[in-house]
Structures are given as C-alpha cells and as structure tokens.
Symmetry: C2
DNA sequence: CTATGTGAAGGCCTTCACAGCG
DNA sequence: CGCTGTGAAGGCCTTCACATAG
C-alpha cells in the first residue's frame, strides 16, 4: 500500500469488487477503467487512482483482467478465502431482517448468534439461529469466537451492550442504533443511520 | 443559505437535530459548539462552520438555544411540520423490517404502502399495511401521493421498479439493492449498501 | 471573560492531462 | 493506437486562530 487509503476509496473498492463479480459471471475477461467507473457511478480517473494505490493491475491498451482484479480486491478488503464471525444484538425488526438476509453469508459474513434480553424472544428460532439470552453475552462471544457485532438494540441500551462486547473481545461494530457510540481507539465502528438517510432525501427534495 | 451545503454537512445536520432533541427532552436550554460537537462525534469548529452556513444561531458567551436551534434545523432538513409519504417496494426481510420500525413515523416519514410481486405475500398484513400487488404500482403511487420510495427488491428487479416509480412521479429513492441505479438528474437517490459497510469493517480489521 | 462567527491555512480527495507501455 | 499510471492542478472540506459580541 503506497499511500493512505481513504474511507471513500474503501467504499469504492467494495463497489468495484461487486461489479467485477457480475462481470465475471457474464464471463467478461477485461474491463477498462472507463467502463468500470461507469458500472459503479464514478469516472475513469477515479478508478485508476484508486487501484494504483495498491498495484499496477491494468494492461495499457486492454484494461483490467476481471477475475484477477476481483480476487485481489477481495483479498485487500479481507473477504477472500476467509469468513468473519458475526453476532447480532437485538432481535427486533432489524436484527431479524439481517439474519434472514442471505447475501451477507455469501460475502463471507457468517452470523453465528443473535441475542436479546426479551424472555418472550429468547429460545425462539430466527432463520438457522436460536435467540440467545443477552446475559450469556460474554460466554457466547468467546465460545463462538465473534469478531464483529451488529448493534440493533434500542438507543438506551446501545452503549452498555457495546461496552460489554468490547470487553468480551469484539473488535468491530456495525451500529444501527441512532446514537453516537464511544469506543476505544483500536475498535472499528461504522454507523448506519436510516433516519439520517431519509432526512438527506428530504433536504434535497426541499432545497433543489 | 450563504454557500453550498455539502453532503457531509447535511449528514451532520441530521445528527445535530437528533442530539438537540435529546437535550430538549432533558430540558437543557443552551449548548456550546464544543459540547454539541462532542455529542455527535465532531469538534466545535466544525459545528460552528456548519451552522454559520444558514444563520447566526448562537449567542457569544452562552452557546446555542437548544429548542430554537432544533426547530430551525428540522425546518432546513424538511422534517418540521410536515410528513413525507413513503412507499416500500419489496416485502422481503428488509422491507418488512422498515415498515415495522416505528422511529421513521415519529421523524415525519409515513409509510403509506408496501408492494410486492409475490402472490403469496400480496394481501397479507405487515404492521398497519396490507401488501399490495406491484402491478398496481402506478395507481397506488398516484392515489397515495407517494413522494419517496424505498427499494428493497432483488437486484435484478431494482432498475425496472425504479423506472416505473420515476414515471409515476416518485422524486426520491432510498435504495437497498446492491446495484448502481440510473435515475434522471432531477431525481434524488441515496444508496444504503450493507455489504459495503461490512466490508469497510473487514478492511480496517485487516489493515490496522 | 466566555464562546461565537469567519477569513485564512491546511489537508484531503478528485479531476486533468499526458508520458509511456502493450 | 488505446488505455493505463501518475505527477500536477483544482476543488472541496476541515481546522486554526482571532476579532468580536454578549
């Protein structure tokens, strides 16, 4: 890695990887930076800059070898020949939906547990998983070797649950609770906030 | 509006608004740019710059009036004294979860319809809504005066469904399908791609 | 004396433009 | 001759620092 990889670049690496997967399924051998950019909604210069951070993947006059590039990017993203073990905390609408959605499994994110504090939910089955009692959190995280957690609990429980998970050894969080979580500096945290997304739409509808 | 409002600023306006709502509930009257920044995970300078785009909301020596500022920001975001009518297309795991999640209603996003093409789902009840037949799309969009649509259909149907919706008059889309949708320039589109989010976590776990 | 509002500086990301490779 | 890789330029966003208001 020659330079710092920006958040924006990481985001696009994901999109390139997915689009290259589609091309691979359609048995396309080579793709130009121009077409690859078009496929994910950016331009050729951006594509070449992004890829040049890591290596010289392309062949002047031909473009990028689709299959080779997809594998290399998947490796860079950490999703080639590898599975991440994920726990979902909060078996509400959203937590349930994530577990039932199969694409993540295919992409190397394996859901190994779903936890809740509601005794009416504990023991019930969601997809292939049985809802576990949140008071068993630490034991489950350790025995299941959970590395990534999804926070889909109500706002008022989110920070506490996150603290417990950090203590139990979880290193990365995808947070759906609409609150600013505080985590130690070595912990990876990304927020998905659907209200923010809706309000983004609303702002542009009103101001354009 | 004195200058162009960046995407990043719009995002933070949402976060400020939410945090100010919490402060309002706790009956806090004034907040400094420093504390407001801390509350959403940014700094005082950023807060002051963001807010100064629109007006002089603050009182030197005291800070910002919480309730007044919250209302003004909600107005700017288009969620004060107003309801947006939203349709969800695709009654799978995710579409169902969104309709059952009540926070959006409170924030001014009112779900008025959920559509699917699966005859096994059509007519069934999800929350307060009955799943409608997607072949009635145009009629429903017009009669329900839908302005915003959520795309939660499989990738292969996403573009077609979006085209139909644009034609029927929908002006804004929140797209959960992992595909780059093409829409006319005057249409507002935001993508929520959970695979990208997971891969973002993965990248940072591997490279730090 | 505290905390805002804002030009200026700094830093990061994107776009340009072209040398050079296949 | 087409398309990549990459310095340079441009543009946008964040941070700094301080004059100014309450």
């Amino acid at each position: 890695m020659k330079r710092k990889v920006s958040q924006a670049t990481v985001h696009r690496l994901s999109l390139y990887t997915r689009y290259l997967g589609e091309l691979e399924a359609r048995e396309v051998d080579y793709i130009s930076s121009d077409k690859l950019g078009e496929g994910i909604g950016t331009n050729a210069a951006q594509v070449r800059k992004d890829l040049s951070i890591f290596d010289r993947f392309g062949i002047p006059g031909r473009g990028y070898p689709v299959s080779f590039l997809r594998k290399r990017l998947a490796k860079i993203l950490g999703v080639e020949d590898r599975v991440w073990r994920v726990a979902v905390v909060g078996a509400g609408c959203l937590g349930t939906a994530l577990v039932c959605y199969s694409r993540f499994e295919k992409q190397g994110f394996h859901f190994v547990a779903i936890l809740d504090n509601d005794s009416a939910k504990i023991g019930t089955r969601i997809g292939k998983l049985e809802v576990a009692d949140i008071s068993d959190l630490e034991r489950i995280i350790r025995s299941e070797k959970v590395e990534v957690a999804v926070i889909s609990v109500p706002v008022q429980n989110a920070q506490q649950v996150t603290d417990l998970m950090v203590e139990a050894g979880v290193r990365a969080f995808l947070n759906f609770a609409p609150v600013n979580l505080n985590v130690p500096p070595h912990i990876v945290l990304r927020n998905v906030d659907l209200t923010v997304e809706f309000e983004g739409l609303s702002f542009h509808l009103i101001n354009h």
